[in-house]
Symmetry: C2
Subunit: 277 residues, 2 copies
């Protein structure tokens, strides 16, 4: 019924609809300058790129198209990471290999031109990122399309870019690991019961409790990222109220965005595997 591009769009919508997801925009909480409705517009705009990902176009170009479309709202970066998690999964699903091995092959197939398109995507929207790895200032993603000469000189593929970023970026780590956390969390979502917005919330909390969120580490520091993991564990153990924690994280501007991105990937895989909405 729904094709992979449609399931990816729905995964973006279900991710932001999941509540409570402490620290992230959801149905019940938002920031003045980053609102729920902007995520709706982001998902609408991302679809043409997701459709390219489901086709035969180069993966990097599909990603850039999705981000360019996503950027047509006034909130800025709503779903950069979620789209980055989803695009290779869409390609794998559209080519009947939605498995860790299948999506690893999709990643393996990326080219230097895919890396250039990935960098150009940063020209469309401001993304909070860490400093580039040492000795790789020419590869700072904040250079956007200006970095493509450096990419070509180094012969760096998109897979290679992700390998460089993986130690400090949870989405890049996902690319390099065969999306193991997305697949694992998809299993949780499918084995869970009840409305999808609750399943999404629980999968988010389990992912958050398992590993520090790299977006929090970048923006708020490693100590805060460790605290967030502990607090998520406390919620899962029943020792902390997730709604109160959500209020606190919004107040402290703690936004576990990478974990939300992985939740979107998990929801996409779950939809492809029969999750009913």
């Amino acid at each position: 019924m729904r094709d992979p591009a449609q399931n990816a769009q729905l995964a973006l919508l279900l991710e932001v609809s999941g509540t409570p997801k402490p620290g992230n925009v959801d149905r019940h909480r938002e920031y003045d300058d980053l609102r729920f409705e902007q995520f709706m517009a982001g998902a609408v705009g991302a679809l043409p790129g997701l459709r390219r990902a489901a086709g035969t176009d180069a993966l990097g170009a599909a990603f850039e198209t999705a981000i360019e479309g996503m950027s047509h709202q006034s909130g800025g970066n709503t779903q950069f990471g979620a789209v980055l998690v989803t695009v290779p999964l869409v390609r794998a699903a559209a080519t009947d290999r939605l498995t860790p091995e299948g999506v690893a092959a999709v990643v393996e197939d990326t080219t230097v031109e895919d890396a250039c398109a990935f960098y150009r995507a940063f020209d469309h929207v401001a993304v909070a990122v860490d400093e580039p790895p040492e000795g790789a200032d020419d590869l700072d993603v904040r250079r956007g399309g200006d970095a493509t000469d450096a990419l070509r000189e180094r012969g760096l593929t998109l897979s290679g870019v992700m390998e460089l970023s993986a130690p400090r970026d949870g989405v890049a780590a996902e690319w390099i690991s065969g999306f193991e956390r997305s697949f694992e969390a998809a299993g949780w979502v499918l084995a869970d019961e009840g409305p999808v917005y609750r399943r999404a919330s629980r999968a988010f909390l389990r992912l958050l409790a398992a590993e520090p969120d790299t977006f929090v580490a970048t923006r708020n520091g490693a100590a805060t990222a460790r605290e967030v993991t502990e607090r998520a564990r406390a919620v899962l153990a029943g020792d902390e109220d997730p709604e109160a924690l959500a209020e606190e994280f919004v107040r402290r501007d703690i936004n576990p965005g990478t974990t939300a991105d992985l939740t979107a990937g998990a929801l996409f895989v779950a939809l492809e595997r029969g999750l009913e909405v």
Copy 2:
């Protein structure tokens, strides 16, 4: 940036995201068997039909495609009326005549085959409707595609069907009136300030206060429909709390769905006219 089909999909998403909208599913309230997330899936599924409406296909076929796609979720009828309001507006926008006169011409152009496709759309989803007009049992929409012989024998166009239903159905009345309430409410949304979800809520309340909701009249009776109008006026006058009213309407299963449908139409027109999200 967004084309008319994308703006229509976004209008469906923004309508259900608007809160508070007493009695309707929104970000903060839902029914056990009709959930917010099912409206997300409905909007995802409706897009291919909305895209046909933006093209040159027959309008009835575009509508049926949108409803068939919308039905791919387990909540049943999420957005039948909202899609019915939106489809002729999309056609008008795509042909550069998004005015009351332009959309009246779109309606005027509909054929008997459009009426047949409209009836077939009822085969995809259960819609709460009133009894057919007297002497028109053969035109009961609950007959779905079985009624097409009767439509052809009577030579009834989709515009003619809407004219028959207009006295008791607010969406049909909108078709016959050049979508005057949608255009008027679009003006309110554009002149309003702040986040779209609040503008959508206020436009909904003003529409509800202006005329009894025909969906409430059909399901809960004329007296309740009149009460709902009075209560909406009380909210606008500051004499009643909309959040408390929303709780009460959900509890009493009062769902002003037709007014929500018109709100979706208003949001579409507002987006086409530059509403920023």
